[in-house]
């Protein structure tokens, strides 16, 4: 089950990059070669893209080969022990998905309300996801953290912080 998902992910990643390489081939068809040579804006992407596709295909065939082999049973067992059960493994996946979701929300909030307010909302949520859940501690860490970031970056170093852009 675990390795099945991993296999799917591995094949998906390789297929994704093959697609990207094909897309780059199509787009780069518009770029001309320097007259009388094979030099031009399309040369390097064509070369690298082709090589990458070969490696991606090898990866896919290798993954499929491992998936159908008997060794896979042992790997499955080892992974089960490593991730300590189905529930824990599900929890780990959920956490990663939630963290990515929170980051996307954080980005959108920055666009809407700017860095400071977005961070005030994002930090407690991320702390909660990280099992840091005592309310008083979360409030203190958030307020002190945001104040520290503002003072050290904006005031002392003069580093600009992301500002709201939607309104």
């Amino acid at each position: 089950m675990i390795t099945n998902r991993k296999t799917a992910l591995e094949i998906g990643v390789n297929v994704l990059f093959i697609t990207i390489a094909i897309g780059m081939f199509i787009v780069s068809a518009d770029y001309k070669f320097v007259r009388g040579t094979l030099l031009g804006a399309r040369t390097f992407p064509l070369l690298v893209g082709s090589i990458m596709m070969v490696f991606a295909l090898i990866n896919i065939f290798k993954t499929l080969g491992i998936q159908s082999s008997e060794e896979n049973v042992e790997v499955e067992q080892a992974l089960k022990e490593l991730t300590k059960g189905k529930f824990n493994n599900w929890l780990r996946t959920y956490r990663v998905a939630a963290a990515i979701g929170l980051m996307v929300l954080y980005y959108l909030m920055m666009l809407a309300v700017g860095f400071i307010f977005a961070t005030v909302i994002f930090l407690p949520a991320m702390l909660y996801l990280n099992e840091y859940r005592k309310p008083m501690k979360v409030i203190v860490v958030t307020i002190v953290g945001v104040a520290f970031l503002y003072i050290s970056f904006k005031v002392l170093l003069g580093v600009p912080l992301p500002t709201a852009q939607l309104f």
């Binding site: 770029y31 040579t37 030099l39």
Partner: protein
């Protein structure tokens, strides 16, 4: 050269460079102490801060983080049986048994002294050897740079881990990323899709932060329920003169091994540490003590891995070739600061390069003071809530990616790179080749174009110059040795 080095020291101690270096060492040790957080990640996160100060000050801070981070890994290896960094893996073998036997303080003192002396020897070799290599490298023309770039790309085979194909695939992704933006030969905007954000290609910094910092933060969230092993109590930190004299020859020998290993691109601090450990065990009068708490077993790997830090900077500064992840990130930092790593740095910006050398030497002195006097503080760092640190890494990643161009687009790039880095780590795909590809792609492409334009497309130009032929031989020997190595390891496995 000596005058330049003295000037470097003068600059270091008369500007903010020394405090920045000190701060970098402290921060590096803290990051190194915490398992799961690495010096590489710290460097990637702090690069954005460096372009608000002078390049010398910024680079001093990055050097401090690198040196401190490698040393810091030993503290958690000794007290927790969990190496803070891969480089401390060999230290654990004897450091933890020493701590179990009630000598945790002694083990930390040995690790500190060995790290500092090893690092100091490595830094001195770097300071005197690098300018000599740069003198040769300054004669390079476009054909040599093409071959140098290709040689750098062959390093992918060393940083690929278990699967060479996965490493090469990752390297190609890096090369493809480097093709976005204006073509260096024809000046045609390439894959920009009409957006100004892509006119200069993908910025290096958001990619660096994404694949080295954000991906680790995602891993931190995933593993946030994992229980930290109990920490052994720290005893008095110090060693006797007799013990020091016993470990000194091993420290010196390991320092030379570490510097040499580091200077070979594609190796790393972990390899230097294990090689030094093996050599110390082989030449020790008490080999039976190894694995049970030998003081030589702690000293040798620590001297080796910290010397390796400086050795790894030799190809980075002289040739612009990053040998492993941390130096690749520092190299990226140099480029972000507008400096072109390579031999010309020694002639164009000697004040910066020699301040960096002064920093590498001084960082070891800071390390010994901090390590011996602040051991209790760094041991306490182990009890810091990792969940809070991980949460802040996300925020720092966003700030770092944004601050370079004040661009929200770079935050999206950072997040995408972070996700890619995480997926790669889940699938056992190596990440450093991506970075090698991004950094070396433009070097190879632009110089290949120039070479072929000059020679009217005649590839024989590569065989007409002595340095080119030297590089071709090195590249061929690297490829052949790698094929042999993979073939041999497969046979051993069978």
């Amino acid at each position: 050269m000596i005058t330049y080095l003295f000037n470097g020291f003068e600059f270091l101690f008369t500007t903010m460079a020394a405090p920045a270096l000190f701060g970098g060492v402290v921060l590096g040790i803290i990051l190194g102490v915490l398992p799961g957080l690495t010096a590489t990640m710290g460097i990637a996160l702090l690069i954005p801060l460096t372009y608000y100060v002078s390049p010398s000050v910024g680079l001093s801070m990055l050097i401090g983080i690198f040196a401190g981070g490698i040393y810091g890994g030993s503290v958690s290896a000794i007290l927790l049986k969990t190496p803070g960094t891969p480089a401390a893996g060999a230290t654990l073998l004897d450091g933890y048994p020493m701590a179990q036997n009630g000598y945790a303080g002694k083990a930390i003192a040995i690790a500190t002294i060995a790290s500092a002396i090893g690092g100091l020897i490595g830094a001195l070799i770097l300071s005197f050897l690098a300018p000599q290599i740069a003198k040769i490298a300054v004669r390079f023309g476009p054909p040599e740079y093409v071959l140098l770039g290709i040689y750098g790309l062959t390093m992918i085979s060393y940083v690929s881990g278990k699967s060479l194909v996965k490493g090469l695939f990752a390297g190609c992704i890096g090369l493809l990323i480097s093709t976005f933006g204006i073509d260096p030969i024809t000046s045609v905007p390439r894959f920009t899709f009409g957006t100004l954000n892509l006119l200069t290609g993908f910025e290096l910094l958001p990619i660096l932060i994404g694949i080295f910092a954000m991906s680790q933060a995602i891993e931190g969230v995933r593993d946030s329920r994992e229980v930290t092993p109990p920490q052994i109590k720290l005893t008095r930190v110090g060693i006797s003169v007799k013990e020091f004299l016993r470990i000194l020859p091993h420290i010196v020998k390991s320092a030379f091994i570490g510097t040499f290993v580091g200077a070979v691109p594609g190796t790393g601090t972990d390899i230097a540490a294990f090689l030094s450990y093996g050599e110390a065990k082989r030449s020790s009068k008490h080999p039976e003590e190894f694995g049970n708490g030998s003081i030589e077993g702690v000293a040798a790997p620590e001297a080796g891995n910290n010397a390796c830090v400086n050795g790894a900077m030799i190809p980075m500064f002289t040739l612009g070739i990053p040998g492993e992840a941390a130096t690749a990130v520092i190299l990226g930092g140099l480029m972000v600061l507008g400096l072109q790593p390579g031999p010309l740095l020694f002639t164009d910006k000697p004040e910066i390069i020699y301040t960096v050398f002064a920093s590498t030497i001084t960082s070891n002195i800071f390390m010994i003071v901090l390590g011996l006097l602040g051991a209790r503080f760094f041991a306490k760092v182990l009890s810091l809530p990792k969940s809070v640190i991980v949460s802040f890494i996300f925020v720092f990643s966003v700030l770092g990616a944004y601050s370079m161009r004040n661009s929200m687009f770079d935050i999206i790039i950072m997040m995408t790179a972070g996700l890619l880095g995480y997926i790669f780590s889940v699938l056992d795909y190596p990440v450093p080749p991506v970075l090698l590809g991004v950094i070396l792609g433009p070097l190879v492409e632009s110089n290949l174009g120039r070479t072929l334009l000059v020679s009217d497309g005649n590839l024989m130009i590569f065989f007409k110059r002595p340095i080119s032929i030297f590089f071709i031989l090195i590249i061929l020997s690297t490829i052949v040795s790698n094929i042999y190595k993979h073939y041999k390891s497969k046979r051993v496995l069978q």
